[in-house]
Symmetry: D2
Subunit: 439 residues, 4 copies
């Protein structure tokens, strides 16, 4: 309980990118957890350009709260500083450049025979370049207006964004992803045990982890999970089968994002095929979103519509609300988060962000030691972290040479010359969002 | 839940040194925790020499269980192997050489102007030399007869004994001390908060720790604790006042055992004075013990007598039973334990034992990272750990040169020549318990 | 001077793979250095299959020694143990599977659109699988017959072979490559300074290094070298131009072997083109070798023929003889060698082999700290080292799963499925040389 | 050759504390080494208070140079900035507070039963508090007026002073002590080998090292040196015999300064005895110095007088001149120096100063890895380093709490209360030299 005023008067929460189609998810979460997480003010903030969506989703949020009968005030604003001032928690779920920018993140690499994806590969790099300066700007506001607030960052690429904040601001920040909680939900379903009887150990980075221990009721389930076809995957990554021999000897259950690295050829083929039929994933999502906002407009809708689940990002709200709960109430439970490495992985710098099990105390998360690191994971983790750190340096400086080094050292970019071509085209397409590169 | 048979049939527990006057404490603990820690068989083991005491305290244990009405079988035996076979938990609370040996551990150093104490200084070293070979012998039995058992070691010097086991056997072992739980109890009383609203962070070794964070209900209490006279101390260490300037700038609340290092002159004076009036601490304890056993003999006594609290070792039972509970039920709560360092303190080897907060899972404790290490603590921690590792090496090899190196490098031993004198006299006095040194 | 008998009676040297076309190089080196490296016995050893070549090159070696008038005995043998017994230095320059195996190392990957090269990529992996067991077998002999001998390993892939020996034998071994000395020679020529006025700092692995400091007469030459087109390259790697922007910001002058990673597309195109016109590099080398042996047969030839220089491997002899000289005479000069990492690169295990500047003392090389490690190099170094360690484990165990993990984690192998195909075909083609994989 | 102008025009050297009685030593060294270290300007600087001595010793220096016939200009000045401007090397050999302050450094601890010594113990701490601010002030001048100069620091306590400079200035600095070269000279004499046939490996801190390898002509001499009575000792430390059993199993030949830690009782007794008969060591030295200056005044004296050797500090000049020579000429030879730890000792911070073998290049010294660290040395090294870092922090801040922490954590100070007494008296006595503590 680090904000004692919170106890008496209730908490203030600011959601940056509050006009997102995801917002009803988190509002539902806040309503459910009200008893342990008593929110007094919920501020949904968005930029001028997103005001229209903010109004629609904000009205739905207000109807949801009304129906719950809870004394939560919903505020809609484009004045970020008012929202942040005195907040206990700030959560970010924004998308700089909107889905239009994502389209090019996916499209341009594909045109050059490279994986096009919004977090992994050149697309993720562009997203980082657009997002990091904006997030650091938000951090300047938090440092000034609510220095004790926790910043919960869901904005992708969450690993790089979190590391940029950890290294370049004083804000207390934690990166969150729904992939770990998603796997745990799938496992609790599969083995019929409650989450507290399940133990999973994650090793790696955001969207680049291996699960090296899986125990249900104390029994080791990893061997059978590595031995079977059946698998967990997110909605946004196509299900392609792992090679059985490879999986069995990999030493950990790989994140489905690792398919971009281990099955690059098949994933690329799938992307090119899908591009022909449905356009980029960004375009597919755009359609889903448009439909969602049509639903949200319905003045009779007072709850999160079922269709939101198709959107991906399942459990996103649950992860965020659980984390706030544990921070607020010093619950000391174990959650998988993106935090500073410290001494956890001895081959990465202490200030690198990693995705790892943490005990969440009132003073923040403490990373648990990893008991097993598959030898084979180390090189790839370090190669991606190298690219990530170069990208962060480029995002902050606007230095094109650094950006070229980052792009060329991404394991999915096949050569310096391809890196140079991609970088040229992608920077140009993102010109509007990258003022530092076009001074 | 690593012993699923435990669930259905109840647990088997072996207490080595079961004839100890402490036994009623732990029996009481087992009775109280029965619901979450369902014990079927409790084996109290002792050596032939201690059979008389075992019979007395064992009869009391039986009466206590009888009164509880619980289906726990109490077994008394001098056959250690039968007790260990198939055990889920083995706990050790023995004293090789009994209080007679302790007397000399305290007396001989005093005669040469050196701190005489049973865990710190030359006395602790002798205790380690006597105890480590016996404990490793027990480990050989556990490796053979109950390889999945957890060995909970309370036997002092708990840090060295635990490290010897961790490095020289395959037994899953954890070292336990009542000092951390004692401080926490004192703090919960002082601040009127339940333990789960208190956060304390321990840094250091067994009987050599600094508490670097103390938060009650999220509020930092360390500055006021470092600023005041009022202090927590164990019954077995005389209360001597800390220098206010020194304490304020020390960066952590020191264990009361640190007085032997920081107030050597005053502590030695107190020992010499006390020696004159009461004899050694061993002799004082002997008297208390004799009285306790008189009480235990009373066939109408069916519960732990109040007088046991005078004995010291408060909360010892609670610490042990809590740890078994968390291991058995994968509780994932935070306890302060003696475990392998891993990457926790970056200046000590990974296999050094340290005393640190751990999350206790069903697969064992995971040490939490320390968030603050006072610069000034590092040298002393490393100096004592150096002595400890030399002592362990000496205990295993029976090498007198190593023993001299250990003794001479203990920070409380003022010179090589004093070390040599002490070592000569003390080895000779312990001849019966140190066969390896007298081959 | 670790072999004082060496001083009085002269040294014994065993060259494993003595029938190599390179042998006249090293014989010339021994003759030139005789004064500081007084060799009494030179044993050229080869396998039965290579006896014909051994006889030819051995006769030339004898003629060279005769002309020098030095009291060096030349012994030709297929009895490896006699050659090793009592040796002061053992040097290895063998090729398990001969050029025929190399041809497939280069050809099969090319057929699947992957770089085909004898040390980098899948080809290098196969060479490691063939070579490591043979080298470790030689080490068993050295452990028994000349335990104080230094094993100088030139056998490629020198980094992996050296690491395998360091980790799996007690032999004192050092890995050597002619690339560092080659660059230094080129620089001394370019800047007109003697080697002792040149300072170069190497960071990385064998065939995967960056030169991060280049000073001639105390002046920093790195910026101009990174800014220019002109470059140093080995004969065996095609000269392809670096991208100027990339090179300028890379933070170190890259080994020409790094082109396989940074210009994969261009290098592959060149290989496929060259394959069409000249066949594999193995076939080109075969032709050069045949011509050399024709020359060696000439009974009037008493010196190393000029044509040997076309063969590649320039300065190989100089590097070997310099190293022996420094070891024998405790010269304490700086040489670039493949040795155990120790604490040099803090992100690699202490027992990983790295290529680094060392001070060569009579007790062996001591690696110098690296003063600058380019951030961008770390990921690639770790990725390749990960593959290398998996390969070593596979070579020793003959475990196909480990081999698949190694192949799939090589940065130049684009996916698990390509890895599996390559592995299948290449293991089959090497069946004769990989008994452990075909048990 | 980092100062190419130096080559053509000759070097400029500034000796801070040039009025010291040691100056003729270094002048002699410069004359002898002139060929490889061509000095054009030698600036002897001192403070106003030392002008009288500077004039005397400066005149002798001029006569020595005149006799040599070399074109070296000798400048005497109290204007430090003029001396530093454009210097290639700055050397410091000053004594803040003169021998008067040293007297109290030795006397006050003795009065309280504690070792009184000018570098080890409370005396060394006071010397550090007086000296570090002055040295850092000199560094400010060097940063401004000769940023590429090398600062060679002989000023004791050399380890702490060097670390303070490394951490708190940008000056390129190296700490030097005559103890390592002294031991090497003794060994070359004893074994009749030239220095380049001797290999010694030093592990530890300044005045706190263990020599863990000693090889003469490749032969291991350490066992016999640890087994014998005969020993090397400096003139300033009384020769007291090591315990034979202890020495044999210590794992390294200890510096004679380690007697203060290992034979504290005997050394203290000797100090108290000697105090009675001769006064403090400071007073003895004062007498020797007065005699020396009488000699120096003789206008016919044109060389270093024999009597200077009695002064202690043997080989001081040789060490300094050798180091300048290697830096200037990029000699890459091995010297034992005080430099930043880097990764050398893995239990100390990278920026801690250690005393270790280095290869001296034109860009500075590179520490060589230590091949053996005696287990028993680690604790004492870390304990003393802890005290040293606290002392440096106190010297810079003038914080009395930090000073108390430093004093209380020195292994030779028996308790906090003694620390407090000593600190109070010693700060008071040094009031004039410690403005930061008396603000």
């Amino acid at each position: 309980m680090t904000q004692p005023q919170g106890l008496s008067k209730g908490l203030k929460i600011a959601v940056i990118g509050g006009g997102s189609s995801y917002t009803p998810e988190i509002v539902e979460g806040f309503i459910r957890k009200y008893e342990s997480l008593p929110i007094r003010e919920l501020w949904l903030v968005d930029i001028e350009e997103g005001k229209h969506k903010l109004d629609i989703v904000g009205a739905l949020a207000q109807r949801m709260v009304d129906r719950s009968g809870l004394p939560i005030e919903v505020h809609l604003t484009t004045d970020r500083r008012r929202a942040i001032e005195g907040a206990d928690f700030v959560s970010t779920q924004m998308r700089v450049g909107l889905l239009e920018a994502r389209k090019w993140d996916e499209h341009i690499p594909n045109q050059h025979g490279v994986i096009g994806q919004e977090t992994t590969g050149p697309g993720g790099m562009m997203k980082a370049l657009r997002t990091i300066p904006v997030l650091l700007d938000i951090c300047r506001d938090i440092e000034e207006l609510s220095p004790k607030a926790w910043l919960l960052n869901f904005t992708n690429p969450a690993g790089m964004v979190t590391e940029a904040i950890l290294r370049h601001s004083k804000v207390r920040s934690i990166g969150l992803c729904n992939a770990p909680i998603g796997l745990q939900k799938w496992l609790t379903g599969k083995y019929g045990v409650p989450p507290e009887r399940l133990y999973t150990e994650f090793v790696g980075l955001n969207h680049l982890h291996w699960v090296t221990r899986i125990e249900a009721d104390g029994e080791d389930k990893l061997p059978e999970l590595l031995d079977r076809r059946e698998e967990y995957s997110g909605k946004n990554v196509p299900a392609t089968e792992w090679d059985a021999d490879f999986l069995r000897s990999l030493g950990g259950l790989p994140s489905y994002y690792l398919k971009y690295f281990y099955m690059t050829d098949a994933m690329l083929a799938e992307q090119l095929e899908s591009l022909k039929t449905n356009g980029t994933r960004a375009e597919v999502v755009k359609k889903v979103e448009d439909e969602l906002f049509e639903l949200y407009k319905d003045p009779n809708l007072q709850e999160k519509p079922k269709q939101l689940e198709k959107r991906g990002g399942a459990y996103y709200s649950e992860a965020a609300v659980n984390l706030m709960d544990s921070l607020h109430n010093d619950k000391r439970d174990i959650q998988t988060l993106n935090v500073a490495n410290g001494n956890t992985l001895d081959f990465l710098p202490p200030d690198a962000s990693i995705e790892v099990n943490c005990v969440v105390t009132g003073q923040g998360p403490l990373p648990l030691p990893v008991t097993k690191v598959p030898e084979q994971a180390k090189g790839l983790i370090h190669a991606v972290k190298t690219y990530e750190r170069l990208t962060i340096a480029a995002a902050i400086s606007g230095d094109r040479d650094l950006a070229l080094q980052a792009m060329a050292h991404h394991p999915l970019v096949p050569s310096v010359s391809v890196a140079k071509t991609l970088l040229g085209e992608m920077l140009e397409k993102n010109r509007r969002y990258l003022p530092a590169f076009f001074k």
